[in-house]
Protein backbone atom coordinates (compact mmCIF):
# COMPACT_ATOMS: atom_id res chain seq x y z
CA UNK A 1 0.00 0.00 0.00
CA UNK A 2 2.77 2.40 1.07
CA UNK A 3 4.81 1.40 -1.87
CA UNK A 4 1.97 2.10 -4.18
CA UNK A 5 1.44 5.56 -2.73
CA UNK A 6 5.10 6.43 -3.18
CA UNK A 7 4.90 5.10 -6.63
CA UNK A 8 1.86 7.27 -7.23
CA UNK A 9 3.48 10.46 -5.99
CA UNK A 10 6.52 9.83 -8.16
CA UNK A 11 4.20 9.22 -11.04
CA UNK A 12 2.23 12.40 -10.50
CA UNK A 13 5.45 14.34 -10.06
CA UNK A 14 6.56 12.98 -13.45
CA UNK A 15 3.23 13.96 -14.98
CA UNK A 16 3.54 17.47 -13.64
CA UNK A 17 6.98 17.68 -15.21
CA UNK A 18 5.58 16.48 -18.52
CA UNK A 19 2.77 18.99 -18.24
CA UNK A 20 5.24 21.77 -17.51
CA UNK A 21 7.30 20.74 -20.54
CA UNK A 22 4.11 20.76 -22.67
CA UNK A 23 3.21 24.22 -21.47
CA UNK A 24 6.73 25.52 -22.11
CA UNK A 25 6.76 24.03 -25.62
CA UNK A 26 3.37 25.53 -26.35
CA UNK A 27 4.47 28.93 -25.09
CA UNK A 28 7.60 28.71 -27.24
CA UNK A 29 5.58 27.71 -30.31
CA UNK A 30 3.04 30.46 -29.73
CA UNK A 31 5.78 33.06 -29.45
CA UNK A 32 7.52 31.82 -32.59
CA UNK A 33 4.24 31.82 -34.54
CA UNK A 34 3.60 35.39 -33.47
CA UNK A 35 7.13 36.30 -34.55
CA UNK A 36 6.75 34.65 -37.96
CA UNK A 37 3.37 36.27 -38.53
CA UNK A 38 4.68 39.63 -37.46
CA UNK A 39 7.72 39.31 -39.69
CA UNK A 40 5.63 38.43 -42.70
CA UNK A 41 3.21 41.28 -42.44
CA UNK A 42 4.66 44.21 -40.64
CA UNK A 43 8.36 43.93 -40.11
CA UNK A 44 9.66 45.09 -43.52
CA UNK A 45 7.59 48.24 -43.27
CA UNK A 46 8.79 48.82 -39.73
CA UNK A 47 12.37 48.13 -40.74
CA UNK A 48 12.10 50.65 -43.52
CA UNK A 49 10.56 53.17 -41.20
CA UNK A 50 13.40 52.72 -38.74
CA UNK A 51 16.28 52.88 -41.21
CA UNK A 52 14.68 55.89 -42.94
CA UNK A 53 15.49 54.86 -46.51
CA UNK A 54 12.32 53.99 -48.42
CA UNK A 55 12.21 50.59 -50.10
CA UNK A 56 9.97 48.04 -51.78
CA UNK A 57 8.31 45.84 -49.23
CA UNK A 58 6.12 43.44 -51.18
CA UNK A 59 5.13 42.35 -54.68
CA UNK A 60 1.86 40.74 -55.83
CA UNK A 61 -0.06 40.19 -59.05
CA UNK A 62 -3.42 39.08 -60.46
CA UNK A 63 -4.97 38.49 -63.89
CA UNK A 64 -8.38 39.91 -64.79
CA UNK A 65 -10.56 39.96 -67.88
CA UNK A 66 -12.02 43.25 -69.12
CA UNK A 67 -15.82 42.85 -68.90
CA UNK A 68 -16.47 44.78 -72.14
CA UNK A 69 -13.48 44.03 -74.38
CA UNK A 70 -12.60 40.56 -73.06
CA UNK A 71 -8.91 41.55 -73.00
CA UNK A 72 -6.96 39.76 -70.27
CA UNK A 73 -4.71 41.98 -68.17
CA UNK A 74 -1.97 41.23 -65.67
CA UNK A 75 -1.59 43.72 -62.82
CA UNK A 76 1.73 43.67 -60.98
CA UNK A 77 1.92 45.74 -57.80
CA UNK A 78 4.99 46.68 -55.76
CA UNK A 79 4.30 48.05 -52.28
CA UNK A 80 6.71 50.81 -51.28
CA UNK A 81 7.37 52.33 -47.87
CA UNK A 82 7.39 55.90 -49.20
CA UNK A 83 6.35 58.03 -52.16
CA UNK A 84 8.09 57.19 -55.46
CA UNK A 85 8.38 58.47 -59.02
CA UNK A 86 8.47 56.11 -61.99
CA UNK A 87 9.35 56.41 -65.66
CA UNK A 88 9.06 53.59 -68.18
CA UNK A 89 10.24 52.67 -71.67
CA UNK A 90 9.95 49.66 -73.99
CA UNK A 91 12.93 48.31 -75.91
CA UNK A 92 12.97 45.69 -78.65
CA UNK A 93 16.52 44.33 -78.57
CA UNK A 94 18.17 42.13 -77.59
CA UNK A 95 14.74 40.89 -76.43
CA UNK A 96 11.46 42.72 -75.73
CA UNK A 97 11.68 44.48 -72.40
CA UNK A 98 9.79 47.04 -70.35
CA UNK A 99 12.18 49.06 -68.20
CA UNK A 100 10.87 51.01 -65.22
CA UNK A 101 13.14 53.41 -63.34
CA UNK A 102 12.06 53.96 -59.77
CA UNK A 103 13.13 57.10 -57.89
CA UNK A 104 12.55 57.00 -54.17
CA UNK A 105 12.89 53.33 -53.25
CA UNK A 106 15.58 50.66 -53.05
CA UNK A 107 14.97 46.97 -53.72
CA UNK A 108 14.37 46.30 -50.04
CA UNK A 109 13.02 42.86 -49.23
CA UNK A 110 11.57 42.13 -52.68
CA UNK A 111 13.16 39.14 -54.51
CA UNK A 112 15.66 40.10 -57.23
CA UNK A 113 14.00 37.85 -59.82
CA UNK A 114 10.42 36.69 -60.34
CA UNK A 115 9.69 34.06 -62.98
CA UNK A 116 6.39 34.10 -64.86
CA UNK A 117 4.71 31.70 -67.31
CA UNK A 118 5.29 33.86 -70.39
CA UNK A 119 1.64 34.62 -71.07
CA UNK A 120 2.09 38.26 -70.15
CA UNK A 121 5.61 38.38 -68.70
CA UNK A 122 8.60 36.03 -68.87
CA UNK A 123 10.60 37.42 -65.97
CA UNK A 124 10.91 40.45 -63.72
CA UNK A 125 14.32 41.50 -62.38
CA UNK A 126 14.50 44.00 -59.56
CA UNK A 127 17.82 45.84 -59.54
CA UNK A 128 18.63 48.04 -56.58
CA UNK A 129 20.92 50.83 -57.76
CA UNK A 130 21.39 53.07 -54.77
CA UNK A 131 19.67 53.21 -51.41
CA UNK A 132 16.66 54.90 -52.90
CA UNK A 133 16.73 54.20 -56.65
CA UNK A 134 16.07 50.96 -58.43
CA UNK A 135 15.13 49.57 -61.81
CA UNK A 136 12.47 47.00 -62.71
CA UNK A 137 13.35 45.00 -65.83
CA UNK A 138 10.22 43.31 -67.16
CA UNK A 139 10.99 40.74 -69.87
CA UNK A 140 7.96 40.37 -72.13
CA UNK A 141 7.15 37.85 -74.88
CA UNK A 142 6.50 40.50 -77.56
CA UNK A 143 6.99 44.24 -77.86
CA UNK A 144 4.14 46.19 -76.28
CA UNK A 145 2.36 49.06 -78.00
CA UNK A 146 1.56 52.26 -76.09
CA UNK A 147 -1.98 51.12 -75.32
CA UNK A 148 -0.92 47.67 -74.14
CA UNK A 149 0.71 48.65 -70.86
CA UNK A 150 0.51 51.26 -68.13
CA UNK A 151 2.83 52.13 -65.31
CA UNK A 152 1.64 54.43 -62.54
CA UNK A 153 1.98 55.07 -58.83
CA UNK A 154 -0.62 55.24 -56.09
CA UNK A 155 -0.50 57.18 -52.83
CA UNK A 156 -0.74 55.47 -49.50
CA UNK A 157 -4.08 55.26 -47.76
CA UNK A 158 -3.60 54.70 -44.04
CA UNK A 159 -7.37 54.46 -43.44
CA UNK A 160 -7.62 51.46 -45.79
CA UNK A 161 -4.21 50.14 -44.62
CA UNK A 162 -2.67 50.60 -48.07
CA UNK A 163 0.95 51.57 -48.64
CA UNK A 164 2.43 53.60 -51.51
CA UNK A 165 2.38 51.45 -54.66
CA UNK A 166 3.91 51.06 -58.10
CA UNK A 167 1.35 49.52 -60.46
CA UNK A 168 2.20 47.85 -63.78
CA UNK A 169 -0.70 46.78 -66.04
CA UNK A 170 0.12 44.62 -69.05
CA UNK A 171 -2.45 43.46 -71.60
CA UNK A 172 -2.15 39.92 -72.89
CA UNK A 173 -0.25 40.14 -76.19
CA UNK A 174 -1.97 39.03 -79.38
CA UNK A 175 -0.82 35.44 -80.11
CA UNK A 176 1.68 35.37 -83.01
CA UNK A 177 -0.42 33.12 -85.26
CA UNK A 178 0.43 33.10 -88.98
CA UNK A 179 -2.15 32.18 -91.63
CA UNK A 180 -1.27 31.52 -95.25
CA UNK A 181 -4.10 33.28 -97.04
CA UNK A 182 -4.15 33.78 -100.80
CA UNK A 183 -5.69 36.90 -102.31
CA UNK A 184 -9.20 36.73 -103.75
CA UNK A 185 -12.47 35.10 -102.68
CA UNK A 186 -12.26 32.00 -104.86
CA UNK A 187 -12.43 28.69 -102.95
CA UNK A 188 -12.51 30.45 -99.58
CA UNK A 189 -14.76 28.83 -96.99
CA UNK A 190 -16.86 31.56 -95.36
CA UNK A 191 -19.34 30.90 -92.57
CA UNK A 192 -22.12 33.48 -92.34
CA UNK A 193 -24.05 33.72 -89.10
CA UNK A 194 -27.34 35.63 -89.33
CA UNK A 195 -27.73 36.92 -85.75
CA UNK A 196 -30.53 35.57 -83.50
CA UNK A 197 -33.46 33.60 -85.03
CA UNK A 198 -36.32 31.30 -84.08
CA UNK A 199 -37.31 31.82 -80.45
CA UNK A 200 -34.93 34.82 -80.22
CA UNK A 201 -36.07 37.81 -82.31
CA UNK A 202 -33.03 39.89 -81.33
CA UNK A 203 -33.56 43.65 -81.11
CA UNK A 204 -36.96 45.00 -82.19
CA UNK A 205 -37.44 48.33 -83.98
CA UNK A 206 -40.01 50.96 -83.04
CA UNK A 207 -42.32 49.86 -85.86
CA UNK A 208 -41.85 46.19 -84.99
CA UNK A 209 -39.01 45.10 -87.30
CA UNK A 210 -37.21 42.05 -85.95
CA UNK A 211 -33.42 41.97 -86.02
CA UNK A 212 -33.51 38.24 -86.90
CA UNK A 213 -35.40 39.00 -90.14
CA UNK A 214 -32.96 41.69 -91.32
CA UNK A 215 -29.86 39.64 -90.48
CA UNK A 216 -31.16 36.60 -92.38
CA UNK A 217 -32.09 38.70 -95.39
CA UNK A 218 -28.69 40.44 -95.60
CA UNK A 219 -26.79 37.18 -95.01
CA UNK A 220 -28.68 35.61 -97.93
CA UNK A 221 -27.57 38.47 -100.19
CA UNK A 222 -23.94 38.17 -99.03
CA UNK A 223 -24.08 34.43 -99.73
CA UNK A 224 -25.21 34.96 -103.32
CA UNK A 225 -22.49 37.53 -104.00
CA UNK A 226 -19.75 35.42 -102.43
CA UNK A 227 -20.79 32.31 -104.35
CA UNK A 228 -20.69 34.32 -107.57
CA UNK A 229 -17.09 35.18 -106.69
CA UNK A 230 -16.27 31.48 -106.26
CA UNK A 231 -16.34 31.20 -102.48
CA UNK A 232 -17.93 28.35 -100.58
CA UNK A 233 -20.51 29.71 -98.13
CA UNK A 234 -22.04 27.94 -95.15
CA UNK A 235 -24.88 29.60 -93.25
CA UNK A 236 -25.43 28.82 -89.56
CA UNK A 237 -29.17 29.07 -90.30
CA UNK A 238 -31.10 29.18 -93.60
CA UNK A 239 -34.45 30.29 -92.23
CA UNK A 240 -36.12 31.67 -89.13
CA UNK A 241 -34.98 29.03 -86.64
CA UNK A 242 -32.80 28.48 -83.60
CA UNK A 243 -29.42 27.03 -84.60
CA UNK A 244 -29.14 24.60 -81.65
CA UNK A 245 -32.73 23.76 -80.75
CA UNK A 246 -35.79 25.71 -79.65
CA UNK A 247 -35.15 27.51 -76.36
CA UNK A 248 -31.68 26.00 -76.01
CA UNK A 249 -29.48 27.47 -73.31
CA UNK A 250 -27.71 30.63 -74.38
CA UNK A 251 -24.30 29.06 -74.63
CA UNK A 252 -25.65 25.98 -76.47
CA UNK A 253 -27.17 28.31 -79.06
CA UNK A 254 -24.01 30.38 -79.47
CA UNK A 255 -21.68 27.39 -79.51
CA UNK A 256 -23.88 25.71 -82.16
CA UNK A 257 -23.03 28.72 -84.36
CA UNK A 258 -19.28 28.66 -83.72
CA UNK A 259 -19.26 24.86 -84.20
CA UNK A 260 -20.51 25.30 -87.78
CA UNK A 261 -17.37 27.33 -88.51
CA UNK A 262 -14.98 25.22 -86.44
CA UNK A 263 -16.22 21.85 -87.78
CA UNK A 264 -16.09 23.04 -91.39
CA UNK A 265 -12.61 24.49 -90.95
CA UNK A 266 -13.84 27.80 -92.30
CA UNK A 267 -11.36 30.48 -93.35
CA UNK A 268 -13.52 33.28 -91.96
CA UNK A 269 -16.55 33.59 -89.66
CA UNK A 270 -18.87 36.59 -90.01
CA UNK A 271 -21.78 37.20 -87.65
CA UNK A 272 -24.33 39.71 -88.93
CA UNK A 273 -26.38 41.82 -86.48
CA UNK A 274 -28.27 45.06 -86.02
CA UNK A 275 -27.44 47.24 -83.03
CA UNK A 276 -29.71 48.87 -80.43
CA UNK A 277 -29.58 51.50 -77.70
CA UNK A 278 -32.11 53.29 -75.48
CA UNK A 279 -31.30 56.69 -76.99
CA UNK A 280 -33.02 56.36 -80.38
CA UNK A 281 -30.94 59.09 -81.99
CA UNK A 282 -27.82 56.90 -81.81
CA UNK A 283 -26.91 55.32 -85.14
CA UNK A 284 -24.13 53.96 -87.31
CA UNK A 285 -22.23 50.82 -88.22
CA UNK A 286 -19.62 49.11 -86.04
CA UNK A 287 -17.50 45.97 -86.27
CA UNK A 288 -16.50 43.92 -83.22
CA UNK A 289 -13.69 41.37 -82.95
CA UNK A 290 -11.60 39.41 -80.45
CA UNK A 291 -7.83 39.61 -80.88
CA UNK A 292 -7.15 35.86 -81.24
CA UNK A 293 -4.52 36.79 -83.83
CA UNK A 294 -3.57 39.96 -85.71
CA UNK A 295 -5.88 38.80 -88.51
CA UNK A 296 -9.02 39.43 -86.44
CA UNK A 297 -8.38 43.17 -86.23
CA UNK A 298 -7.35 43.22 -89.89
CA UNK A 299 -10.67 41.57 -90.79
CA UNK A 300 -12.63 44.04 -88.66
CA UNK A 301 -10.75 46.98 -90.16
CA UNK A 302 -11.26 45.73 -93.74
CA UNK A 303 -14.99 45.21 -93.18
CA UNK A 304 -15.45 48.53 -91.43
CA UNK A 305 -13.68 50.49 -94.19
CA UNK A 306 -15.80 48.76 -96.82
CA UNK A 307 -19.05 49.31 -94.88
CA UNK A 308 -18.62 53.08 -95.08
CA UNK A 309 -18.61 53.08 -98.91
CA UNK A 310 -21.84 54.48 -100.41
CA UNK A 311 -23.31 54.02 -96.97
CA UNK A 312 -26.34 55.68 -95.43
CA UNK A 313 -24.91 54.95 -91.99
CA UNK A 314 -22.27 56.73 -89.92
CA UNK A 315 -19.11 54.82 -89.05
CA UNK A 316 -18.66 54.01 -85.36
CA UNK A 317 -15.42 52.13 -85.99
CA UNK A 318 -14.01 48.83 -84.80
CA UNK A 319 -13.99 47.53 -81.22
CA UNK A 320 -12.56 44.63 -79.31
CA UNK A 321 -15.58 42.96 -77.75
CA UNK A 322 -16.06 40.33 -75.07
CA UNK A 323 -18.32 38.43 -77.48
CA UNK A 324 -18.93 34.70 -77.48
CA UNK A 325 -18.84 34.01 -81.22
CA UNK A 326 -15.72 36.01 -82.07
CA UNK A 327 -13.87 34.53 -79.08
CA UNK A 328 -14.81 30.91 -79.62
CA UNK A 329 -14.21 30.56 -83.35
CA UNK A 330 -10.83 29.12 -84.31
CA UNK A 331 -10.41 31.34 -87.39
CA UNK A 332 -10.42 35.14 -87.87
CA UNK A 333 -13.93 36.33 -87.05
CA UNK A 334 -15.94 39.53 -86.87
CA UNK A 335 -19.38 40.56 -85.68
CA UNK A 336 -20.91 43.28 -87.84
CA UNK A 337 -23.48 45.63 -86.34
CA UNK A 338 -24.84 47.02 -89.62
CA UNK A 339 -26.85 49.90 -88.10
CA UNK A 340 -29.16 50.68 -85.14
CA UNK A 341 -32.58 49.10 -85.50
CA UNK A 342 -33.59 51.18 -82.44
CA UNK A 343 -33.10 54.34 -84.52
CA UNK A 344 -36.37 54.84 -86.52
CA UNK A 345 -34.55 56.24 -89.54
CA UNK A 346 -32.06 53.38 -89.63
CA UNK A 347 -34.82 50.82 -89.02
CA UNK A 348 -36.53 52.05 -92.16
CA UNK A 349 -33.31 51.91 -94.17
CA UNK A 350 -32.50 48.41 -92.89
CA UNK A 351 -35.84 47.21 -94.27
CA UNK A 352 -35.04 48.50 -97.76
CA UNK A 353 -33.89 45.73 -100.16
CA UNK A 354 -31.64 48.24 -101.98
CA UNK A 355 -29.91 49.25 -98.73
CA UNK A 356 -29.56 45.59 -97.75
CA UNK A 357 -27.98 44.86 -101.14
CA UNK A 358 -25.50 47.71 -100.66
CA UNK A 359 -24.55 46.45 -97.19
CA UNK A 360 -24.10 42.92 -98.61
CA UNK A 361 -21.88 44.23 -101.41
CA UNK A 362 -19.82 46.20 -98.88
CA UNK A 363 -19.33 43.10 -96.72
CA UNK A 364 -18.12 41.15 -99.76
CA UNK A 365 -15.77 44.01 -100.72
CA UNK A 366 -14.47 44.05 -97.16
CA UNK A 367 -13.75 40.31 -97.28
CA UNK A 368 -11.96 40.71 -100.60
CA UNK A 369 -9.90 43.53 -99.15
CA UNK A 370 -9.07 41.35 -96.13
CA UNK A 371 -7.72 38.47 -98.23
CA UNK A 372 -5.60 40.88 -100.30
CA UNK A 373 -4.09 42.40 -97.15
CA UNK A 374 -3.70 39.06 -95.34
CA UNK A 375 -1.91 37.52 -98.34
CA UNK A 376 0.47 40.46 -98.39
CA UNK A 377 1.28 39.87 -94.70
CA UNK A 378 2.97 36.56 -95.32
CA UNK A 379 0.77 34.08 -97.07
CA UNK A 380 1.92 32.08 -100.06
Amino acid sequence: MQKREVQHSVNSLGKEKVLLRHILTICFLLISILCIQGAGITSPVQAAGKSGSPEMTNVRWAVSKDAATGVAKLRLVFDVSGPVQVSSSVSESPSPRLTIDVKGAGRGSVPDTLDFDGNFINKVSVVGKTEDTSTLLVDIPTVLGDGDYRVFTLRNDPAANRPYRIVIDINKPVPPVVYHFTPGLEDKVIVLDPGHGGSDPGAIGLTGTYEKTITLSVAGKVKKLLEKAGAQVIMTRQDDCDVAWRNATDVAELSARTSVANNNKADIFISIHTNAFTNRTVGGAAVYYSAKSMYDSLLAQSLDSALTQNSKFADRGIYRGNLYVTKNTLMPAALIEMAFISNPNEEKLLCSPAVQQQIAQNIVNGLDRFFTEAARLGGN
Partner: protein, 195 residues
Protein backbone atom coordinates in the same frame (compact mmCIF):
# COMPACT_ATOMS: atom_id res chain seq x y z
CA UNK B 1 -10.61 13.59 -10.84
CA UNK B 2 -7.30 15.41 -10.44
CA UNK B 3 -5.53 12.65 -12.34
CA UNK B 4 -8.07 12.87 -15.11
CA UNK B 5 -7.52 16.58 -15.47
CA UNK B 6 -3.76 16.15 -15.50
CA UNK B 7 -4.04 13.56 -18.25
CA UNK B 8 -6.43 15.58 -20.35
CA UNK B 9 -4.90 19.01 -19.92
CA UNK B 10 -1.85 18.58 -22.18
CA UNK B 11 -4.03 17.17 -24.95
CA UNK B 12 -6.47 19.97 -24.50
CA UNK B 13 -3.64 22.49 -24.77
CA UNK B 14 -2.30 20.75 -27.89
CA UNK B 15 -5.76 20.86 -29.37
CA UNK B 16 -6.05 24.56 -28.67
CA UNK B 17 -2.58 25.17 -30.07
CA UNK B 18 -3.11 23.13 -33.22
CA UNK B 19 -6.44 24.76 -33.96
CA UNK B 20 -4.83 28.14 -33.46
CA UNK B 21 -2.05 27.09 -35.85
CA UNK B 22 -4.61 25.88 -38.40
CA UNK B 23 -6.61 29.06 -38.24
CA UNK B 24 -3.46 31.16 -38.45
CA UNK B 25 -2.20 29.23 -41.49
CA UNK B 26 -5.47 29.10 -43.37
CA UNK B 27 -6.22 32.77 -42.84
CA UNK B 28 -2.73 33.51 -44.04
CA UNK B 29 -3.00 31.48 -47.25
CA UNK B 30 -6.42 32.95 -47.88
CA UNK B 31 -4.85 36.33 -47.72
CA UNK B 32 -2.10 35.44 -50.17
CA UNK B 33 -4.27 33.65 -52.70
CA UNK B 34 -7.29 35.85 -52.74
CA UNK B 35 -6.12 39.36 -52.20
CA UNK B 36 -6.46 40.99 -55.58
CA UNK B 37 -3.25 42.55 -56.85
CA UNK B 38 -4.99 45.85 -56.40
CA UNK B 39 -8.32 46.94 -57.64
CA UNK B 40 -7.41 50.54 -57.08
CA UNK B 41 -7.88 52.61 -60.19
CA UNK B 42 -5.29 54.74 -61.92
CA UNK B 43 -5.11 58.11 -60.16
CA UNK B 44 -6.93 60.13 -62.81
CA UNK B 45 -9.96 57.91 -62.49
CA UNK B 46 -10.20 57.50 -58.78
CA UNK B 47 -12.97 59.01 -56.83
CA UNK B 48 -13.03 58.62 -53.08
CA UNK B 49 -14.99 55.41 -53.06
CA UNK B 50 -16.83 54.56 -49.92
CA UNK B 51 -15.02 57.20 -47.92
CA UNK B 52 -16.71 59.39 -45.40
CA UNK B 53 -16.30 62.98 -46.51
CA UNK B 54 -15.66 64.33 -43.05
CA UNK B 55 -18.79 66.30 -42.25
CA UNK B 56 -21.87 64.13 -42.65
CA UNK B 57 -22.28 60.42 -42.02
CA UNK B 58 -22.90 59.96 -45.72
CA UNK B 59 -20.58 58.13 -48.09
CA UNK B 60 -19.67 58.60 -51.71
CA UNK B 61 -19.91 55.98 -54.42
CA UNK B 62 -19.02 56.08 -58.11
CA UNK B 63 -21.59 54.84 -60.63
CA UNK B 64 -20.82 54.42 -64.33
CA UNK B 65 -23.25 55.35 -67.11
CA UNK B 66 -22.91 55.42 -70.90
CA UNK B 67 -22.49 58.69 -72.73
CA UNK B 68 -25.52 59.76 -74.81
CA UNK B 69 -23.79 58.61 -78.01
CA UNK B 70 -23.25 55.11 -76.53
CA UNK B 71 -19.51 55.37 -77.12
CA UNK B 72 -18.10 55.39 -73.57
CA UNK B 73 -18.81 54.97 -69.89
CA UNK B 74 -18.42 57.92 -67.54
CA UNK B 75 -18.28 57.98 -63.73
CA UNK B 76 -20.82 59.89 -61.67
CA UNK B 77 -20.02 60.48 -58.01
CA UNK B 78 -23.09 60.07 -55.82
CA UNK B 79 -23.87 60.26 -52.11
CA UNK B 80 -25.17 57.36 -50.09
CA UNK B 81 -26.89 58.26 -46.85
CA UNK B 82 -25.63 56.87 -43.58
CA UNK B 83 -26.85 53.44 -42.63
CA UNK B 84 -27.25 52.28 -46.23
CA UNK B 85 -25.05 49.65 -47.78
CA UNK B 86 -22.90 51.51 -50.33
CA UNK B 87 -22.45 48.47 -52.60
CA UNK B 88 -26.17 47.78 -52.83
CA UNK B 89 -26.95 51.47 -53.18
CA UNK B 90 -24.51 51.85 -56.08
CA UNK B 91 -26.36 49.11 -58.01
CA UNK B 92 -29.72 50.67 -57.21
CA UNK B 93 -28.45 54.03 -58.49
CA UNK B 94 -27.22 52.31 -61.66
CA UNK B 95 -30.73 50.92 -62.16
CA UNK B 96 -32.43 54.28 -61.58
CA UNK B 97 -30.13 56.13 -63.99
CA UNK B 98 -27.80 59.14 -64.09
CA UNK B 99 -28.28 62.65 -62.75
CA UNK B 100 -26.30 64.17 -65.62
CA UNK B 101 -28.14 64.87 -68.86
CA UNK B 102 -24.99 63.95 -70.76
CA UNK B 103 -25.41 60.34 -69.70
CA UNK B 104 -27.99 57.60 -70.33
CA UNK B 105 -29.59 54.98 -68.13
CA UNK B 106 -28.37 51.54 -69.18
CA UNK B 107 -30.20 49.01 -66.99
CA UNK B 108 -33.56 48.20 -68.64
CA UNK B 109 -36.58 49.79 -66.93
CA UNK B 110 -38.36 47.52 -64.51
CA UNK B 111 -35.20 45.64 -63.52
CA UNK B 112 -35.01 44.90 -59.79
CA UNK B 113 -31.84 44.20 -57.83
CA UNK B 114 -32.65 40.87 -56.18
CA UNK B 115 -29.48 40.31 -54.24
CA UNK B 116 -25.81 41.10 -54.05
CA UNK B 117 -23.15 39.12 -52.21
CA UNK B 118 -19.37 39.31 -52.14
CA UNK B 119 -17.19 36.23 -51.89
CA UNK B 120 -13.43 36.04 -52.41
CA UNK B 121 -13.43 39.57 -53.88
CA UNK B 122 -16.05 38.66 -56.50
CA UNK B 123 -19.44 40.38 -56.37
CA UNK B 124 -22.38 38.15 -57.30
CA UNK B 125 -25.08 40.52 -58.44
CA UNK B 126 -28.55 39.13 -59.06
CA UNK B 127 -31.13 41.00 -61.18
CA UNK B 128 -34.74 40.22 -62.03
CA UNK B 129 -35.34 38.90 -65.56
CA UNK B 130 -36.45 42.32 -66.82
CA UNK B 131 -32.73 42.87 -67.47
CA UNK B 132 -33.17 40.39 -70.35
CA UNK B 133 -36.87 40.71 -71.19
CA UNK B 134 -36.87 44.53 -71.31
CA UNK B 135 -33.41 44.78 -72.87
CA UNK B 136 -33.34 46.68 -76.18
CA UNK B 137 -30.68 44.23 -77.47
CA UNK B 138 -27.61 45.00 -79.57
CA UNK B 139 -23.92 44.40 -78.81
CA UNK B 140 -23.42 48.04 -77.84
CA UNK B 141 -26.11 47.98 -75.14
CA UNK B 142 -24.99 44.61 -73.80
CA UNK B 143 -21.30 45.57 -73.54
CA UNK B 144 -22.08 48.99 -72.02
CA UNK B 145 -24.40 47.36 -69.49
CA UNK B 146 -21.89 44.70 -68.47
CA UNK B 147 -19.10 47.31 -68.38
CA UNK B 148 -21.18 49.69 -66.24
CA UNK B 149 -21.97 46.94 -63.71
CA UNK B 150 -18.34 45.76 -63.54
CA UNK B 151 -16.86 49.27 -63.31
CA UNK B 152 -19.31 50.47 -60.66
CA UNK B 153 -18.72 47.45 -58.44
CA UNK B 154 -14.93 47.33 -58.88
CA UNK B 155 -14.77 50.89 -57.55
CA UNK B 156 -15.03 49.23 -54.13
CA UNK B 157 -11.57 48.20 -52.91
CA UNK B 158 -12.78 44.74 -51.84
CA UNK B 159 -14.31 43.87 -55.21
CA UNK B 160 -12.01 42.86 -58.06
CA UNK B 161 -14.53 41.16 -60.35
CA UNK B 162 -18.19 40.49 -60.98
CA UNK B 163 -20.53 37.62 -61.87
CA UNK B 164 -23.98 38.45 -63.18
CA UNK B 165 -27.01 36.43 -62.11
CA UNK B 166 -30.59 36.65 -63.35
CA UNK B 167 -33.36 35.28 -61.11
CA UNK B 168 -30.74 33.58 -58.97
CA UNK B 169 -28.89 31.81 -61.78
CA UNK B 170 -25.50 32.73 -63.25
CA UNK B 171 -25.98 33.73 -66.88
CA UNK B 172 -23.72 33.05 -69.86
CA UNK B 173 -25.00 36.01 -71.88
CA UNK B 174 -27.76 38.61 -71.55
CA UNK B 175 -28.91 39.18 -75.13
CA UNK B 176 -26.82 36.71 -77.11
CA UNK B 177 -23.62 38.64 -77.83
CA UNK B 178 -21.47 39.01 -74.70
CA UNK B 179 -19.62 36.09 -73.12
CA UNK B 180 -20.45 36.34 -69.42
CA UNK B 181 -18.94 33.01 -68.39
CA UNK B 182 -16.19 33.56 -65.82
CA UNK B 183 -15.42 36.54 -63.65
CA UNK B 184 -15.74 39.94 -65.33
CA UNK B 185 -13.06 42.48 -64.48
CA UNK B 186 -13.01 46.21 -64.72
CA UNK B 187 -13.09 47.77 -68.18
CA UNK B 188 -10.69 50.70 -68.34
CA UNK B 189 -10.93 50.83 -72.12
CA UNK B 190 -14.59 51.84 -72.05
CA UNK B 191 -14.09 54.79 -69.73
CA UNK B 192 -13.98 58.16 -71.42
CA UNK B 193 -10.63 59.71 -70.61
CA UNK B 194 -10.65 63.28 -69.33
CA UNK B 195 -8.08 65.74 -70.50
Amino acid sequence: MMRMRLKVLPWLLWFVLSSFLLVACSSDTNKNNNTPADTTKPPEQTADTGKTPGNAGSKQVVVYFPTRDAMFLMPETRKVSAGQDPVRSSMEMLIVGPESRELEAIVPQGTVLRNITIKDHVAYVDFSNAIIKKNPGGSTTELLLVGAIANTLTEFPDISGVRILVEGKQVETLTGHADLTGVLGRSEEMIKKHK
